[in-house]
């Protein structure tokens, strides 16, 4: 189980970049983070947490952090389907709404807090 806890965080959140070592930093938007995760999933990465938040308000966040890890298995349909569906869903909502840049700092903070909870959960569930 030595490598079981290895993970990488795909993020565009500068706070996360500062606080974690295992970061694939995306210079870009929430949507760009989703694209990067999609590309990784299609090359055999496992999706650890769900790409979408738990409420519509979190769709308006400028920042998003998603945990992935390299998988020795071939591409899993569930992960590919989940990230592809998430992208379609995200684009649907953002076609009529603006990214809430005014509250950017607060979104960065909450994104980092939710990431922390997701990593705690990852430790509990995956070990």
């Amino acid at each position: 189980m030595k490598n079981n806890m290895s993970y990488q965080i795909v993020t565009n959140n500068p706070n996360v970049k500062k606080d974690y070592k295992e970061v694939i930093f995306v210079e870009g938007s929430f949507e760009d983070v989703l694209f990067k995760v999609r590309d990784l999933v299609h090359t055999g990465f496992e999706l650890i947490n769900h790409p979408l938040g738990a409420s519509l308000r979190m769709f308006f966040s400028p920042y998003r952090s998603i945990i992935v890890r390299e998988n020795i298995d071939k591409t899993n349909n569930i992960y590919a389907e989940t990230i592809e569906n998430s992208i379609v869903n995200y684009q649907k909502h953002m076609s009529v709404r603006n990214v809430d840049v005014v509250n950017g700092e607060d979104y960065a903070l909450i994104d980092a807090e939710l990431l922390k909870s997701a990593l705690d959960e990852y430790e509990r569930v995956y070990n």
């Binding site: 650890i48 409420s55 009529v96 603006n98 903070l109 959960e121 569930v125 995956y126």
Partner: protein
């Protein structure tokens, strides 16, 4: 278990020098409540205000709503495991200040929504425009970490509800509702021919501003668990989330969970109600698989013929909802889902973030994306800067007369996924 909810009908709230209920008027000792709440050193100041149905008042950003009550017989006054010592809930007599609500305001982050308009268009969409609201605005000391701030506001709301609830201790109720149900063996013996129905209530369980608590336990840390319905009606479930305003289940709505009450009403008539399974909506995929498997297993172990499932939130929880549905339907258990829709401004888009062919019986509680126009208020309780957040959604959402257009998403309880709200379903 046998629980009596003894409703004292409240017709007004006044701030004064004593905390009493006389002839349906609830008076709250303002100074005493403020000093009680300020016993928590994390609280710098507390502002109390009253908002009544029909007044041109806007409350924003609402964090939680709680029904003030006092337990006059049986264990567990208050919220055991959270604000009072641990006790088994579900039995006894509770005096309820029915028609009154404690509404907490706390802008933990700038993008919180959570509007309650007490009049006009906005009032149509939230059930809390119909309650007499004691608004508790918590100002924390500076430098609190966000999760400490959230805890502080959550606990203050619960303490305020307990303090105010005490006013009803010796008051004769206007109506008494009795909820009584024995063990599964006893109820199955009584109603051998009725179909067995369980209720799965999903709770957002994902971190700061996205949590729920059961007897004080953060639901992130649990496997799905079985409750007697009386436990939830007696205050076992607390809301710790406040980002998803329209479909957040407030503590008030847990105390008065419509799905539970409706299932209770049919118990012994058309169904044998087996109880409530609280299921966390986790954030990791493996976590979701585990809780969904476990939920289905609990339903099967109980011998359920049918299951009602209600969701909380939108987005990744949709996956849990449909996974539970699929697992149950595959096991031959009929399911009915209760959820709201994010189907776009015109209501024509795919309503959920996920799909499953097994989801053939779904009750919609409204379209989160439906746009409403809220006229300017005479008075704003809370933080009027939060209105800018609502107004910042898209081009042209702030009109010249000060009216603003927002999606129902911003309105507390507008599309409640346990059905405690004002929308209804129309068949075409």
């Amino acid at each position: 278990m046998k629980l009596e909810l003894r409703r004292i009908h409240i017709k007004d709230i006044q701030l004064g020098n004593e905390t009493t209920v006389k002839n349906g008027v609830l008076t709250v000792n303002k100074e005493e409540l403020i000093s009680k709440l300020k016993e928590d050193e994390r609280i710098k100041d507390v502002k109390l205000d009253v908002a009544r149905p029909g007044e041109k008042v806007r409350i924003i950003p609402v964090k939680d709503v709680i029904e003030p009550r006092v337990k006059i017989e049986g264990e567990g006054n208050g919220f055991p495991g959270v604000s009072t010592k641990m006790a088994q809930l579900g039995d006894g007599k509770v005096n309820v200040l029915y028609g009154a609500a404690i509404v907490t305001v706390g802008d933990i982050v700038g993008f919180q929504e959570g509007v309650v308009d007490m009049w006009g268009e906005g009032a149509k969409w939230t059930p809390f425009s119909q309650t007499f609201n004691l608004v508790v605005d918590i100002i924390p000391v500076e430098g609190l970490a966000p999760h400490v701030h959230e805890t502080t506001v959550r606990l203050a709301g619960l303490k305020a509800a307990e303090f105010v609830g005490e006013a009803g201790r010796s008051v004769e109720p206007d109506e008494v509702l009795v909820y009584e149900m024995g063990s599964h063996a006893e109820e199955s013996k009584k109603y051998p021919d009725l179909p067995k129905v369980a209720y799965v209530e999903m709770l957002i369980s994902q971190g700061l501003l996205h949590d729920g608590y059961i007897y004080g336990v953060n639901s992130q840390l649990i496997l799905p668990t079985l409750l007697h319905p009386n436990e939830e009606l007696d205050g076992a479930v607390i809301s710790g989330n406040c980002v998803a305003a329209c479909d957040k289940i407030t503590t008030y709505q847990h105390q008065n969970n419509s799905a539970i009450l409706d299932l209770y009403a049919e118990h012994g008539k058309t169904i044998n109600f087996l109880g409530v399974i609280l299921t966390p909506e986790l954030t990791t995929l493996e976590g979701k698989f585990r809780t969904c498997d476990y939920t289905a297993k609990l339903c099967k172990s109980l011998g359920a013929d049918g299951v009602i499932i209600s969701e909380e939130g939108y987005g990744n929880p949709d996956s849990d909802l449909l996974m539970i549905c699929k697992r149950l339907e595959d096991s031959g258990i009929k399911t009915v889902l209760i959820t709201d829709e994010c189907s776009g401004w015109d209501g024509m888009s795919q309503p959920l973030a996920d799909t499953a062919k097994e989801a053939i019986a779904v009750v919609s509680t409204g379209n989160v994306s439906h746009v409403v126009t809220l006229p300017p208020a005479d008075r704003v309780i809370g933080n009027d800067k939060a209105i800018a957040t609502l107004a910042g959604g898209w081009e042209g959402c702030l009109e010249e007369d000060g009216s603003l257009k927002c999606e129902l998403n911003a309105v507390i309880g507008a599309t409640s996924e346990i059905g405690y709200h004002n929308c209804t379903v129309k068949l075409y």
